[in-house]
């Protein structure tokens, strides 16, 4: 078969599928067939492209034209204009929100242009369900090198020298972990991949598994060789069905190619991998809890030491790495430790994938060199804050992380610097908040999450987080007492000091970081019974200020229960009897006229 003239890399990630990429795919396929173009123009369904908010997205190669927000209705025009006549369809191209400029090619779109694709180097370029395409992009070359040219100790040294640190949160040096496990005594050892990506606002692991599952499998086999393990498990959360499907497919393909199973690539080394589905428990992202869960028990953490490197799954020496960490491994082996450590900061090397979401124009996954500033990430790549609102804070590191305000946006992102600001790198969730976000309500949200996900084993976390939540609830309800703010601080310190696992030890971070940077909002809630961001319904009056009201009627249209009366050239009036306090009017009013 002749090479196709055009390749259409259509995103088939979770986000784009939800936006209708399957239907678009079907319509496009039928139209190409109808026009007799099916040999010349090939559709390839790729993994997550990363620019999820614009889904479904499609990249036309080799031209590099990037289409977004596609729908089946666009198909006939698109095929006719572009694929037959060679004229890209302008209305489907990306428009930069700030400058309103149309940008046709992917490489010129600021969102992509500022990124550095190492871990996500194959995303949107290969068909994730084809091992051949992975191999064509140097896939499994790192494994071949590790098996044929390197002793297990050399592999450990290479990873250690590269400075690769755990991407799941704590940032423990991966090479050191491998070294401990390789020296541990035991006939049977395990390599585990932590794909229990539970942090709300983090979806890079899902994207890597969907777009490039073989990179994770290759990393696991290399890790297994380094510590001499014979069995691996990928613990994937059940909420990611597509990732599980592609992983299972990839494992079967690797087995057929002799890359998993007995005598891998003729080296005499044996290793197999099974996928284990989680069952919806956030705490299972903690390593000892995860191992408990694979053993078929309640996923509760246990005290360390002994560390998993000596006594892990089924009491055997075990290495557990996160998806993104493992996806880095093969490239490091192939290109060398020095290549990897050439970018980043003193203590944090390589790239990091962040999931940018919340109140920011360009929502999606971004891979950037360690050491980039938060400001560049949010404003240059993320395109700033929508609706001309003001930036307030950025939440880093999920429920165990913290909120960082404007004055620290020029901090370089690395493990230590982020901790200094009172947040953590975590898995890399970056949630941008604008002036309409109430920071007390935000702390309450995270505490609600943590308190529900606390496994209940140790008292400080089980009871402490519940007390914190009660106090925050009270404050948001307008019943806060002056003493409450101090109690929050004291209780947080105790929980941090005395909890058993990482979940509890970091649980108060959202409270502590908002108290550190946004204490004025707590004070407003407690002393003035006022919510500056107008989010806490109990503290709002639901009254229209006739002075500020511009008589536009937007709130009248937004009210779902008809509680607002308005006539042209008259200020709106809210009927408090009918009002259900849904805040729709606050959301819509552009003049801050509702109190």
């Amino acid at each position: 078969m002749a090479n196709p003239r055009l390749q259409l890399m259509l995103c088939g990630g979770t986000g784009c599928q939800a936006s209708g990429s399957r239907e678009f795919h079907q319509a496009l396929y039928e139209e190409l067939e109808k026009q007799g173009l099916e040999e010349e123009v090939k559709i390839i369904e790729t993994g997550c492209n990363g620019f999820c908010a614009l889904g479904p997205v499609m990249l036309v190669q080799p031209e590099g034209i990037f289409y977004q927000k596609l729908s089946p209705g666009d198909v006939p025009h698109l095929v006719e204009e572009h694929f037959l006549k060679g004229r890209p369809v302008k209305k489907l191209l990306y428009v930069e929100p700030a400058s309103k400029e149309t940008i046709p090619t992917m490489n010129e779109i600021p969102f992509f242009a500022h990124q550095k694709f190492w871990v996500m180097r194959n995303k949107g370029i290969i068909d994730p369900e084809s091992i051949d395409e992975y191999i064509a992009r140097d896939g499994y070359f790192g494994l071949a090198k590790a098996l044929n040219d390197m002793a297990p100790e050399d592999i450990v040294h290479e990873i250690r020298d590269s400075g690769l640190r755990g991407r799941g949160g704590a940032g423990f040096p991966a090479g050191l972990k491998w070294q401990f496990a390789s020296k541990a005594q035991g006939e049977v050892k395990y390599v585990l991949c932590n794909a229990d990506e539970g942090d709300p606002g983090a979806f890079m692991d899902r994207s890597i598994l969907e777009a490039d599952p073989h990179s994770v499998i290759e990393g696991m086999i290399i890790a297994a060789r380094a510590i001499n393990a014979s069995q691996g498990y990928i613990y994937c959360r059940t909420e990611y069905p597509l990732a599980i499907h592609r992983l299972t497919l990839a494992i079967n393909q690797a087995r057929e190619y002799g890359l998993l199973g007995e005598d891998i690539l003729g080296s005499g080394f044996n290793f197999s991998i099974d996928v284990y589905q989680g069952a919806g428990a956030f705490v299972c992202g903690e390593e000892t809890a995860l191992m408990r869960s694979i053993e078929g028990k309640r996923g509760m953490p246990r005290p360390r030491p002994p560390f998993p490197a000596n006594k892990g799954l089924w009491e055997r020496p075990t290495v557990l790495n996160n998806v993104e960490t493992l996806a880095n491994v093969a490239q490091i082996i192939l290109n060398g430790a020095q290549w990897f450590s050439s970018i980043g900061t003193e203590s944090s090397k390589g790239t990091k994938v962040f999931a940018l979401s919340g109140a920011v124009n360009n929502i999606g996954l971004v891979e950037v060199p360690m050491g980039i500033t938060l400001r560049r990430m949010i404003f240059d790549i993320g395109g700033g804050i929508p609706k001309k609102r003001k930036f307030k804070a950025v939440q880093l590191g999920g429920p165990s992380g913290g909120c960082v305000p404007e004055q620290h946006l020029d901090t370089a992102v690395d493990y230590e610097e982020i901790v200094r600001l009172g947040a953590i790198m975590g898995s890399g969730g970056v949630i941008v908040m604008d002036e309409k976000t109430c920071m007390v309500d935000m702390a309450r949200f995270f505490m609600d999450f943590i308190q529900e996900e606390s496994c209940g084993k140790c008292t400080p976390c089980r009871e402490g987080t519940r007390r914190l939540l009660e106090i925050l609830d009270k404050i948001c309800q307008g019943e806060g007492q002056p003493r409450d703010i101090e109690t929050l601080e004291e209780l947080s310190a105790v929980i941090k000091e005395s909890s058993l696992c990482g979940l509890g030890q970091t649980a108060p971070n959202p409270v502590l970081s908002t108290l550190r940077y946004f204490k004025d909002e707590y004070i407003a809630h407690v002393y003035e019974k006022h919510c500056p961001a107008k989010r806490c319904a109990a503290l709002l009056k639901f009254e229209v200020d006739p002075e500020k009201c511009q008589k536009c009627g937007l709130c009248f249209k937004a009210c779902p229960v008809g509680a607002i009366s308005w006539e042209k050239k008259q200020p709106a009036v809210i009927d408090k009897q009918k009002c259900i306090q849904c805040l729709s009017c606050y959301e819509t009013c552009r003049f801050g006229a509702i109190d």
Binding site: T238, E239, R298
Partner: protein, 161 residues
């Protein structure tokens, strides 16, 4: 092993369940996959079924019940015909899932964990679905709906009878 008798478990289902238990009997740590597959067959996990699984796997009932109550995936009570899963992740929260949930409560009188009296809908507040680019996200059965506004959610749910 005594035969399981329960109004919600048909003979067909029971055959299925026996096969599942049989295929996992020898594997260590099988409780979670067995519970998952049995729940897929019946729709939920009646306590009698948990007893049946524990004798099938030769494990203490307390162990199996302990696992079934620990993980959010498992339900010990019947579910509605349609499951609404509202994402409670941070991005969805910032983008207003609270208001969407409020509208569901106002329209159908259910809060997370509840099922409507006519067993039409079960509402679950779930942890981040990893589709933050589409926030706020509501998943009804297998369909993912993105950028859902309070008004829209009523229209969306109307399609599921």
């Amino acid at each position: 092993m005594p035969k399981l008798q329960h109004p919600d478990v048909t003979n067909d289902m029971l055959n299925h369940i026996d096969n599942i238990i049989g295929s996992f009997r020898q594997s260590p740590g099988a409780v979670i996959p067995v519970l998952r597959q049995c729940q897929d067959v019946v729709g939920y996990l009646p306590v009698e079924l948990i007893d049946y699984i524990s004798s099938g796997l030769n494990l203490p009932k307390s162990d199996v019940l302990g696992v079934a109550t620990f993980y959010a995936l498992f339900s010990l009570s019947p579910k509605g015909r349609h499951t609404i899963r509202a994402c409670m992740g941070t991005a969805c929260y910032v983008k207003g899932i609270k208001e969407v949930m409020g509208r569901i409560k106002q329209t159908y009188g259910i809060e997370p964990g509840d099922t409507t009296d006519d067993r039409r809908f079960s509402l679950e507040g779930v942890r981040c679905l990893g589709a933050c680019g589409l926030a706020p996200v509501v998943v009804v059965d297998q369909d993912t709906h993105g950028s859902v506004k309070p008004d829209a959610v009523v229209d969306i749910l109307d399609q599921y009878k």
